[in-house]
Symmetry: C2
Subunit: 301 residues, 2 copies
C-alpha cells in the first residue's frame, strides 16, 4: 500500500526535503506525457552488492536508485518516479530506512524523479534494497541495444575501469547525457556498461546480429583503472574492458552522425570502435594488430 509508505516518508524526512506528493493511495498514480512506461528493477543485498561495515546507508541508497536510473538512461528514457522496497534487519539502527532514502534524494531531485511508493519491512536477514524506476520514452521513442548496424561508430560517455575502487558507489547515472544524445543524434543502439565494456559490447553485438572492433588506444581510462593495474599486475586497458559497474553508456550511431560529436562538448562522447558485419569482437592495438576480444566481465548468476 503506497499510502503507508508515502506517510512514512513524510514523517521521516526533514521538511525541507519533503517529496513532491504524488497520489499515493493503495497504489501510486504517475502522470506521463505518452502512453508508454519504461520500467526497471534492481535488488541489492548486504554482503553481495555492498557491505554495511564499509558503506554508509546513504551510499547504499544512492547506488540502489542510481543503478536503476542508469538502466532508464540506457533506453534514453526520462525518469518519472521510483518505488523503494526495504527489508531492514531486525535490531538495526531505527534511522536506517530513513538514511537509505536520504541517500536517494540527490537523484530524485536532480531528475525530478519522486519516490512515489514502496514498502518497508523488518526481517531476520541482511539489508535488502529493491528499487523499481519508472520512466517514459521521449517523442523519439526508446533506444534498444539491438539496433547497431555495420559501419556504426561505437562511443562511450566516459572513462572506464577500476570502478570498484569507489566510483561504483557515487557514479552519476548518464540520464542527462542519454536524453541529450537521443535528442540531437540518431542513435542506433545503446546500453549501460554495468559488467565491463567487453561483455556489454558482446551483448549489444549479439542482440544486433553484428560484430565489433575496438581500438585499444581510443578507450578512455580512469585514474582508477591505472591504479587497479598497478595493484593487479594486469593492464589498465584490461580493467577498462573487464571491470564492472562503470555505468557509462555505450552507444552506436552512423559515422555521419558521429562526425557531429564534438570533443569536450556536452554530451561528452569518446569514439572507441566500429560495428562490423561479421560477428565476433576484435581489439586493435596501437600497431594495427587485431586480436580476438573475449567477452569477459562480471557475469550475474
Amino acid at each position: 500500500m503506497e499510502h503507508d509508505f508515502v506517510r512514512w516518508l513524510s514523517s521521516h524526512l526533514p521538511s525541507s526535503r519533503r517529496l513532491r506528493p504524488g497520489i499515493g493511495d493503495d497504489a501510486a498514480l504517475v502522470a506521463l506525457d505518452t502512453p508508454q512506461v519504461v520500467a526497471t528493477a534492481d535488488l541489492l543485498i548486504e554482503g553481495v552488492h555492498f557491505l554495511s561495515a564499509k558503506h554508509t546507508p546513504s551510499q547504499i541508497g544512492y547506488k540502489a536508485l542510481a543503478v536503476n536510473l542508469s538502466d532508464l538512461a540506457a533506453m534514453a528514457a526520462q525518469p518519472r518516479g521510483a518505488l523503494v522496497s526495504l527489508a531492514l534487519p531486525r535490531g538495526a539502527d531505527p534511522r536506517l530506512g530513513q538514511q537509505i532514502i536520504e541517500g536517494m534524494l540527490p537523484l530524485t531531485e536532480r531528475w525530478d524523479c519522486p519516490l512515489v511508493g514502496g514498502d518497508t519491512n523488518t526481517g531476520p536477514g541482511p539489508l535488502v534494497v529493491a528499487v523499481t524506476a519508472l520512466g517514459e520514452p521521449s517523442s523519439r521513442g526508446v533506444v534498444l541495444r539491438s539496433g547497431a548496424q555495420p559501419g556504426d561508430v561505437l562511443c562511450v560517455t566516459g572513462p572506464l575501469g577500476g570502478s570498484l575502487a569507489g566510483k561504483h558507489l557515487d557514479f552519476t547515472p548518464r540520464v542527462s547525457e542519454a536524453l541529450a544524445l537521443h535528442a540531437a543524434f540518431s542513435l542506433h543502439a545503446m546500453l549501460d556498461i554495468s559488467d565491463g565494456l567487453a561483455l556489454d559490447l558482446h551483448r549489444m553485438a549479439v542482440a544486433s546480429g553484428v560484430g565489433a572492433l575496438l581500438y585499444a588506444t581510443a578507450i578512455p581510462l580512469t585514474p582508477a583503472a591505472h591504479q587497479s593495474a598497478a595493484a593487479s599486475g594486469r593492464t589498465a586497458l584490461d580493467h577498462a574492458l573487464a571491470d564492472g559497474e562503470d555505468f557509462e553508456l555505450l552507444f552506436a550511431l552512423p559515422p555521419e552522425e558521429a562526425a557531429r560529436l564534438q570533443p569536450g562538448v556536452f554530451p561528452q562522447a569518446y569514439p572507441v570502435g566500429v560495428i562490423t558485419a561479421e560477428p565476433g569482437l576484435w581489439l586493435e592495438d596501437a600497431d594495427g594488430v587485431k586480436q580476438p576480444l573475449q567477452p569477459m566481465g562480471y557475469e550475474h548468476q
Copy 2:
C-alpha cells in the same frame, strides 16, 4: 537489466508457459492506453510474511504478485505488467526461483499481466520476494480511498475473517470485481482490506474526513472466521473486523447507486454500513445498540 531477467525466465519456464515477450532491454517498455501509470510495490520476507517450511515456493510467488494486484484492484486499475526481484538464499534448491515465478503464472495469465522485468540475486539471507505491479486507470480514472461522502453505502466484495487459516495464500485479487464495479457504478472511495475491516475502514474514513457506522449483522463472515472464533474464544465478528489479509475490497458509493447492486450477481457486493458526517467509527448490533469501534487490526511497522 531486464534483458537478463527475461532471458532467465525464458530458459527456466516450460515452453508452454513462456511469457509474452515484452520489450525487455536495459529496461522494459510497457504500452498503455492512457498516459498514466498506476504502480505499487510489496516485499515479502521469509520468516515474516511466509514460512518456507510450511509454504511452497509456488504459494509464495502467487501471494507476492496477488497482494500487488489487490492494490491495483483497490484503485480500479487494469494490470499491465509486473517486475519481480528475488533475493534467493545461498544453497537453496536451484529451482527455487523458477518455482516462485511459476506460482505467479495463473495470475499473469488470468489478467494478461506479463512479467516484464526483474532481477534475480543470490545472497546470504532468507528468501525475499519484491514485486512491483504496473497498471493503468480506465477511462473513468482511478478510485481513491479519500472520496467517501456522508450517506454513502459501504460494501465489501466478500466474506471476511480468519484469512491466516489459509485464504491469505490463495486468495483471488478482486481485479475483475473492481473493474466491473468501476465501469457500472459511481464509486466514491475504495481500498483493499489488507489489515482488517476496522483498521482499513478507519483509514478510508480519515482520508475522506468522515466517519462510518457498520451493521454487525450485515458483515459477511467466512467459515474460517467461525473456526478461528472457536479456537480463539473471540467472536467470528471480531475476526472479521480485526484479522488481516482478507484482500476483499471495501468501497463506498451513493445510496441510489448501491440500490442497483443485485445480491448474488457479479460483481458481488455486501452492504455493511454507511458513511457518516461525524468522524469516528461505530458498530451497531442486532438490537440497534451502537458501540464505538476501535480501529484494530494488523499494524505494519
